[in-house]
């Protein structure tokens, strides 16, 4: 059924997730690399889990335990740890302190403690200071770069003997009945047509007694697993897209800054952040819900426009943008958590499970803590020699009894409760009512997938980057360090009936310029993709591609 005139419903143009490629019943290849516990994803969740597990095993071995040699693997699709990691970030140190009780805060890879913080309501010309709402108090937390945190965790993991494999994306789950038995990696060296070219490396199988899916936001295998086992949440997961830049500035920034209001359209949910990494290095970005109402809402362009506001311009003038990136954030909170986050031989941790608290923009400590719980459950399962769901359900029990779930539960209607706390004011009331979709406080708010939100076809806002403060998507992608080879086959599964309006929608939906509307047709440049996953939420489905492709974030 086609779109109604003047409207685009993204879901009808989307292809379904290719489950037959993602869930395989093949027996693992004879040459499969055997691991005992495999963490899929080298972000904070996967690495914290690997470290915690390695320590548990080491302590057990030193105490004369009988586990023998346990191989722990971490599989990361980026060419090096951290290259696909992006976050604000202001980090709650609770989890990293628990993981390294012998270390002090000064030993952790943070940039600086949060000294001052300020919240502003922006209009096109002004920035109105507001009192900092309780959900955004960051005293006692640290400003940090997730890339640096991940690299630091990686070193700790390697020192503990964890096998870290970078440049290897997990493309499929290997299964036997309902059990996950391992994964198969993506091949590399395919030509544009999909045929093996020079430098072809075939997929490799890795078997594991336990596979921990730590893929991050909109993880492909996690989605496939939840779908396959029918344990996804009733409320679909919803997402925001964050677009972030790092600037070397002449003018120092002395506080953690959050803003709301302009340039987001009144019915778009989100805001901006600006954090000082050092006196002259600033991280700033915009976070906007993917349920915006117009086909031409362009989050990258919103960020560019935002920088021209005198408030931001003052800090950035004569400075230089040194990095750019984008990544989605799961926003569904408590009611979007999967019904079951474990199974036979498998657990799901971190952003992939939706452990992100939107009001405070926090997820890193939840990710790490969930990884540590998974490590505990994995250790117990290895000791018991039983890695079935019956034993691994201990993981879910730990999650449910922890601050992860209690935090998410307390803020479960956050988007609506903002009205009560006074944080989101008039500008957002309309948006909040829309978001509440009927039910209000207390009970579960039924929500729709972002792709089920109708967009109005509207003319694009003209945008002419000046190349100094504002940048085109092409120039931005260059600053993400993306040097993916141009002749890589497309990893994006385009759906059907891509009308010129849909092509226009995709052009604005993607922050990296993967999609372009050329007359009436859609042109896809898959090499530009920075794996933010917005496309998977609203447009062509994202699938894993050759390892090492995508961005090379350094200090994001």
């Amino acid at each position: 059924m086609p779109d109604r005139a003047g409207r685009v419903l993204p879901s009808i143009h989307q292809a379904p997730l290719p489950l037959d490629r993602l869930i395989l019943t093949d027996k693992p290849d004879a040459e499969a690399v055997p691991m005992d516990v495999l963490f899929v994803g080298g972000g904070p969740a996967g690495l914290a889990g690997a470290i915690a597990l390695a320590r548990l095993i080491k302590a057990d071995q030193e105490a004369g335990g009988d586990l023998g040699d346990v191989q722990i693997g971490v599989l990361e699709k980026a060419g090096a740890l951290g290259e696909h990691s992006l976050s604000g970030a202001v980090v709650d140190p609770i989890a990293i302190r628990a993981l390294f009780p012998e270390l002090k805060d000064k030993d952790f890879p943070f940039r600086a403690p949060v000294a001052a913080e300020r919240v502003y309501l922006m209009t096109e010309t002004r920035a109105l200071r507001m009192p900092t709402p309780p959900t955004m108090q960051n005293r006692g937390y640290y400003i940090g770069s997730i890339c640096e945190i991940v690299r630091w965790l990686g070193e700790k993991a390697e020192a503990l003997g964890v096998n870290i494999f970078t440049g290897f994306p997990a493309a499929s789950l290997l299964t036997n009945g309902s059990r996950v038995t391992g994964i198969r990696t993506a091949p590399s060296g395919l030509s544009r047509s999909g045929e093996p070219g020079s430098g072809y490396a075939p997929p490799t199988d890795i078997t594991a007694q336990i596979t921990v899916l730590a893929e991050g936001t909109r993880g492909t295998l996690s989605q496939a697993y939840l779908d396959w086992q029918k344990v996804a949440s009733d409320n679909p997961q919803i997402f925001a897209l964050g677009v972030k830049e790092i600037w070397e500035t002449l003018k120092p920034l002395d506080a953690v800054v959050h803003t709301l209001g302009w340039p987001l359209p009144k019915d778009c949910f989100g805001g901006s952040f600006m954090y000082p990494l050092t006196r002259n290095l600033v991280a700033l970005g915009i976070v906007v819900g993917l349920d915006c109402k117009r086909t031409t809402d362009d989050i990258h362009e919103m960020l560019q426009r935002m920088k021209l506001h005198p408030f931001f311009r003052e800090i950035l003038e004569s400075g230089e943008m040194v990095e750019w990136g984008a990544k989605t954030i799961p926003e569904g909170g408590y009611y979007a958590l999967p019904k079951r986050r474990h199974g036979d031989g498998v657990m799901i941790v971190g952003d992939a499970a939706g452990f992100v608290e939107v009001a405070s923009l926090k997820g890193i400590h939840y990710a790490m803590q969930s990884g540590m719980f998974a490590a505990r459950a994995a250790f117990d399962a290895l000791k018991k020699k039983d890695t079935s769901a019956a034993t691994l359900k201990e993981y879910d029990a730990m999650i449910d009894g922890s601050f992860i779930v209690s935090d998410l539960y307390h803020r479960r209607n956050m988007r609506l409760a903002f009205q009560k706390s006074g944080f989101y004011m008039a500008g957002f009331k309309a948006g909040l009512m829309t978001l509440s979709r009927g039910a209000l406080f207390g009970g579960k708010i039924a929500s729709h997938q972002d792709s089920e939100v109708v967009r109005e076809v509207s003319p694009p806002t003209p945008f002419a980057p000046d190349g100094k403060l504002t940048f085109s998507k092409l120039d931005a992608v260059f600053k993400s360090g993306n040097a993916t080879r141009d002749d890589i086959p497309s990893h994006l599964v385009v759906g059907s009936d891509i009308t010129p309006e849909v092509a226009e929608f995709y052009t604005h939906m993607c922050p990296a310029g993967v999609y372009e509307r050329d007359g009436d047709r859609l042109v896809v440049s898959p090499a530009n993709c920075v794996d933010c996953k917005a496309t998977d939420v609203l447009g062509p489905r994202w699938t894993p591609r050759e390892g090492g492709s995508g961005p090379k974030y350094r200090q994001m």
């Binding site: 040459e31 690399v33 090096a80 096998n163 494999f165 440049g167 290897f168 990696t185 590399s188 020079s198 430098g199 490396a201 490799t204 890795i206 040194v322 360090g481 040097a483 390892g547 090379k552 350094r554 200090q555």
Partner: protein, 250 residues
């Protein structure tokens, strides 16, 4: 065949570099290091020769502080058989000093072929392989873009400016490898696991005092702003004049 490859760990070149506070080194903060591309092609060439000649073995050698063992392991995970780490506090700029230390190690190795990358992108001098060859009085062909070995003899191609040299050489020999010789294989998962078990010997490097001193490092000057000299075809005569007299490129 006994094959050896000398490799160097270099920083990723795709960054903006900063000069360190001492003004004679590059600020290492945030730099990512790896086996450089030329050396990767050299390792690949050695692996291909080993695979073609049963009973052959590839030894990878690198000079530097302990961290270069990571680079040797990378070559081992590509498939090399064993590694030798020549321990030194730092890698000097002076190619003669590096070559001396490598030659001392290679002298007793009995290698049929020793391969080097044509140059490393950091020091960008491109001299070590040729100097080692002189020190060991071994035939040497540098910057090869194609290679064939048969019956104790080798044939290689070298790219010149607008031309190509076809070169014949006897074994044992030392070769330095240029772009275009091959595409380096990526380490496989199995290769990475196997590399952990391969022998990697570490011994002190016999490094002489360097003869060169780097007295200063600096960033190149920023480009000066240019100008639009005119519109349309009418501006062409002025452009040509400027190219001749000012830029002196015509």
């Amino acid at each position: 065949m006994k094959l050896a490859v000398c490799v160097k760990r270099v920083p990723d070149m795709d960054v903006r570099f900063r000069i360190g506070a001492d003004n004679i080194s590059v600020d290492e903060a945030g730099l990512k290091y790896d086996l450089n591309d030329f050396d990767a092609w050299a390792v690949e060439a050695a692996l291909q020769l080993r695979d073609k000649n049963a009973g052959s073995e590839v030894t990878v050698i690198s000079l530097g502080p302990d961290v270069v063992q990571e680079t040797i392991r990378k070559a081992l995970s590509m498939g090399a058989d064993r590694g030798i780490h020549l321990k030194a506090d730092r890698v000097p700029f002076d190619g003669f000093a590096i070559a001396s230390a490598l030659a001392a190690e290679l002298k007793t190795g009995g290698y049929d072929l020793v391969l080097f990358g044509k140059m490393s992108p950091d020091s960008a001098n491109g001299v070590v392989g040729q100097m080692v060859a002189e020190m060991l009085d071994t035939p040497c062909v540098s910057a090869i873009s194609s290679l064939e070995i048969a019956n104790g003899k080798g044939t290689a191609k070298r790219e010149l400016e607008g031309a190509q040299e076809i070169v014949e050489f006897s074994l044992p020999a030392i070769l330095t490898v240029d772009e275009g010789l091959n595409t380096a294989r990526l380490p496989s998962l199995k290769g990475i696991m196997a590399a952990k078990k391969k022998p990697l010997e570490s011994k002190p490097a016999q490094l002489p005092q360097p003869q060169l001193t780097v007295t200063r490092l600096e960033l190149p000057p920023e480009r000066k702003a240019g100008r639009i000299i005119g519109e349309g075809a009418a501006a062409v005569p002025e452009l040509v004049k400027l190219l001749q007299t000012e830029a002196k490129v015509l």
